[in-house]
């Protein structure tokens, strides 16, 4: 409970400020860090006195799958230069005192204006959704490039704050996959910045390079010049020629002093001695030890990656505002589902069928897994198909063989349930919802998935597209 009067007679009550019709919420280190309750606020001010705390909260907001959060104007107060790239780049401004509320209010209004221009059509794949999120953020913040920032906390050594925010710092290599995908889609254009090498096991970028013995891989070795004494053809490491009295070099074979390099002796090569296995070698291996997973690998097996500065392309700029259709593959090759066009054709036939048999009732339904992106962030993009397949399997086991379904995208599924009335369908879906929740919870580290669904009776005299659109609107409104 704090009550504080700031000049201009603005009142802070319970961390809330109302200013020029905007509702601000101030998060300080005493606040609860759960951000979902803040959905009703127009903007958030984080007290950055404790930078770690501020960073944690900001990450939660910008990393949220819901645009209501990740696009929300966020400001910092009591902010001092931070090394954390997210805190530094992903705020919308900072103030030193509440006197400056006017400044941030103006910024917030600008952001609202831009935000309303955005298109929120769901997109097909995980990559597309992340990119969409990034493009939306860039569009509202007028950002033209995605710049890599050297970052010790990122497992690859660099971070792209706008994308990295969606991943754990240990999953940073997925950021590069997302960027590659965006590049392939023509949304962003790369300018080479730096080359990095990643661990072939964990994609970590913190590698320690060592010259190692080719026989035992130990890095415990020492190198010496080989010395060739011309007059007697003796050749050996320079230590053979040393004595412990003075600095002169004497040939162990003919006892002559070495005089002048190139005249009576030379150093034709270098020899390494391994202190571990006692072998001598000239051609050491270079191996990289991964600091993250301790895997020790020959450098030729490391994964080379380019770190680029990405510019938004024309297509990217349009897509940011208007949404985009991915030219890539959608989720239509999951066994047990149809592609969307086939689904629509089948739905059309079903409408024709119930037109003739009016006493028969069929239903359509939409299922949306709201926070599945969160799950992919945790388990990696590669698991996306596995997750969807196991969900489809589960549904298939609980519906009739004649029922059919299709993915609109990786979070949204359409179904058509034949000879199922509305009440039956509602109860079927409620059952499915809890089954899916249980499935994911059990298989993916207690992850709590949020499932929404809507169902309606198939209308004999409405077009299939119209009926699907209506259903979708109902679900998302």
């Amino acid at each position: 409970m704090s009550l504080k009067i700031v000049p201009q007679n603005v009142e802070i009550r319970n961390n809330k400020i109302e200013f020029e019709n905007l509702l601000f919420f101030i998060i300080d280190s005493n606040s609860n860090t759960k951000i979902e309750p803040l959905i009703g606020y127009d903007a958030i001010i984080i007290d950055a006195k404790d930078a770690d705390f501020a960073q944690l909260v900001l990450r939660k907001i910008r990393g949220h799958y819901n645009p209501e959060f990740y696009l929300k104007p966020v400001f910092l107060i009591n902010y001092k230069e931070s090394k954390d790239p997210i805190l530094h780049t992903m705020n919308d401004g900072f103030i030193h005192s509440y006197d400056q509320l006017k400044e941030i209010a103006d910024i917030a209004k600008q952001l609202f204006l831009k935000t309303t221009q955005l298109d929120y059509q769901p997109v097909a794949t995980f990559e597309a959704q992340i990119i969409k999120k990034v493009l939306n953020y860039m569009y509202t913040r007028d950002l033209k490039t995605l710049k890599p920032i050297p970052d010790l906390n990122s497992v690859i050594g660099y971070t792209y704050p706008e994308i990295s925010i969606n991943f754990d710092s240990t999953e940073e290599s997925q950021v590069l996959e997302i960027l590659e995908w965006g590049e392939k889609e023509g949304l962003i254009w790369p300018d080479f910045y730096e080359r990095i090498y990643l661990c072939n096991q964990c994609s970590g970028g913190f590698l320690s390079y060592r010259e190692v013995c080719p026989h035992c891989n130990s890095s415990n070795s020492s190198a010496q010049d080989l010395v060739h004494h011309f007059p007697c053809a003796y050749i050996g490491p320079i230590s053979d020629f040393r004595n412990n009295v003075d600095n002169s070099l004497t040939c162990p074979k003919c006892n002559k002093a070495l005089r002048h390099i190139g005249v009576d002796y030379d150093k034709p090569s270098i020899i390494h001695h391994c202190n571990n296995c006692d072998k001598n070698f000239q051609d050491f291996f270079v191996r990289a030890k991964c600091i993250s997973c301790t895997q020790d690998v020959e450098v030729q097996y490391l994964i080379p990656k380019s770190i680029n500065i990405y510019k938004l392309t024309k297509r990217g700029r349009t897509a940011a505002a208007n949404g985009f259709l991915s030219s890539g593959k959608e989720v239509d090759d999951i066994f047990g589902t149809l592609s969307m066009p086939v689904f629509k054709t089948m739905l059309h036939y079903e409408i024709e069928r119930i037109k003739e048999n009016t006493e028969q009732k069929s239903s359509i339904a939409i299922i949306n897994i709201e926070n599945i992106l969160e799950l992919y962030k945790k388990i990696g993009k590669k698991a996306e198909k596995t997750v969807l397949e196991s969900v489809v399997n589960l549904i298939r086991e609980n519906i009739k063989p004649t029922d059919f379904m299709a993915f609109e995208n990786s979070t949204t599924l359409y179904m058509c349930l034949i000879n199922n009335d509305f009440i039956q369908t509602e109860s079927d879906l409620t059952k499915l919802k809890s089954l899916i929740e249980k499935l994911i919870k059990n298989n993916f580290n207690d992850f709590e998935v949020k499932i929404n669904f809507k169902a309606s009776l198939l209308q004999p005299f409405n077009k299939s597209e119209f009926q699907l659109d209506e259903l979708t609107k109902e679900l998302f409104d």
């Binding site: 080719p214 080989l226 060739h228 011309f230 007059p231 007697c232 053809a233 003796y234 050749i235 050996g236 490491p237 053979d240 162990p252 074979k253 003919c254 190139g262 005249v263 009576d264 030379d266 034709p268 090569s269 020899i271 072998k279 001598n280 070698f281 000239q282 051609d283």
Partner: protein, 435 residues
């Protein structure tokens, strides 16, 4: 036809004394030294080997029981192309406790890449390379420096070895602890490739197989060939390895003998090598070999002629034998030629063909008599028989003239210091130090 009649008539009119007078060179040197001495030594050796049998079997047993580590060193320059084959053939060896050390003396081809690869695949124990060329001796010494074996076996990359070659070359070390170095039996692999190669095969068979059994038995075996030789590492270490070539093979043999070790020739340890197939290349090779005789026998190791601490009678004999039958023999032959030209001018027309007949008959006899003593033949006797008449020209004239050229070049011009076989830096040093 009339000439042949006259020739036979003349020859049959000559009595024994005159025959000896006219062909003294043949009777004293060729027949005595290279036939009678050799045949009696070989017969003795064969006879003696019956008594050695038990000892050799015991030596073999203790070699197998002890399993000493053997370091095979293969120095070379631009020999990468041969190494893979060599490595593979070594897998066949009956004696396997060896390490294989390949030394690259500044190759400018892909030798380093090939050998690094083999090293990484564990097919070569160690590969050492001098980026700057240092000469064959320094390459061998580099291998020796890092060798860990009790025995060092010196290989040439382009040779191949019988499956029991390593085992057989090691056995004598266990038969007689005084033996410090052992030479292998070198045969010509490509003897069918050209006439030049066939003649060399006959020569190798004669001088290397038979000749070395003889010199080995008599304790005057001179040169352990770099193609296949085994050494006690301790002996090489005491010497600090090889000295600058050419002729380093003969040089190291002499030095080991000077240390008081015996040098042994092992006819059952067989190595096959490719010889030059054109006379042009053969000439180059032989000029180099022959020059080294002067340089090392006469110039560097002249102390063996003078009694001092390291003086050994057998060393002296070995040297005398070598010098006599190579250098002095060569000079004597010219004496003989002059003798004939001035004293038998009118009979020259008969003496020359008679010499050829004598040598050829001698060559046939030698070949047939010694053939039963070859226990490892690369070809039946009949293959070589038809080439024997050519040996007199090859041995008697071609090689003799080559030797003369080499000696003249070396004695009067010290040509081997200019030999491109060694890098200039080493040759300069060697010349300055009168090595």
């Amino acid at each position: 036809m009339r000439f042949i009649d006259e020739f036979i008539n003349y020859m049959s009119s000559v009595d024994a004394a005159k025959l000896f007078r006219m062909f003294w060179f043949f009777f004293i040197f060729e027949f005595f030294r290279f036939f009678l001495v050799e045949i009696s030594t070989i017969i003795f050796w064969k006879f003696d080997s019956i008594f050695r049998k038990k000892g050799i079997a015991d030596a073999r047993l203790s070699l197998i029981k002890n399993q000493p580590l053997v370091s095979i060193i293969v120095p070379g320059r631009n020999e990468g192309k041969h190494i893979y084959k060599l490595v593979n053939s070594l897998k066949e060896q009956t004696y396997q406790n060896f390490e294989l050390i390949v030394i690259d003396d500044g190759s400018d081809d892909d030798t380093a890449a090939i050998c690094r690869n083999l090293e990484h695949r564990g097919m070569i124990t160690a590969f050492y390379r001098n980026d700057v060329r240092g000469g064959k001796a320094s390459a061998a010494n580099l291998g020796l420096r890092f060798a860990r074996g009790e025995f060092i076996v010196h290989f040439d990359a382009d040779c191949s070895y019988d499956r029991d070659a390593i085992e057989n070359i090691l056995v004598p070390f266990y038969y007689n602890p005084k033996i410090g170095a052992i030479g292998g039996n070198i045969q010509v692999r490509n003897y069918k490739e050209s006439l030049c190669a066939t003649l060399q095969a006959l020569e190798y068979y004669d001088t290397i197989s038979i000749g070395r059994i003889t010199t080995g038995e008599l304790g005057i075996y001179r040169v352990i060939s770099g193609a296949f030789g085994a050494f006690r590492k301790e002996a090489l270490d005491r010497l600090g390895g090889w000295d600058i070539g050419p002729g380093l093979d003969g040089d190291i043999t002499v030095k080991i003998r000077k240390l008081g070790y015996k040098i042994h020739f092992e006819p059952t340890a067989v190595c096959q090598t490719n010889v030059p197939i054109t006379f042009n290349r053969l000439i180059k090779q032989r000029l180099r070999w022959d020059k080294s005789l002067i340089r090392f026998r006469l110039r560097k190791h002249r102390d063996v002629f003078f009694p001092n601490d390291s003086f050994k009678f057998s060393n002296f004999i070995s040297f005398m034998e070598n010098v006599t039958y190579n250098l002095i023999l060569n000079i004597k032959w010219y004496f003989y030629l002059l003798d004939m030209v001035f004293n038998f001018t009118s009979q020259l027309i008969f003496i020359i063909p008679m010499n050829i007949v004598l040598y050829t008959v001698n060559n046939f006899m030698k070949f047939l008599v010694f053939s039963p003593f070859r226990d490892r033949k690369n070809e039946g006797i009949t293959y070589f028989l038809i080439y024997i008449p050519l040996m007199v020209f090859y041995f008697g004239y071609f090689l003799r003239i080559l030797r003369t050229v080499a000696y003249v070049q070396e004695v009067f011009f010290k040509a081997s210091y200019k030999d491109e076989w060694n890098p200039a830096k080493s040759s300069r040093q060697a010349k300055a130090l009168k090595l």
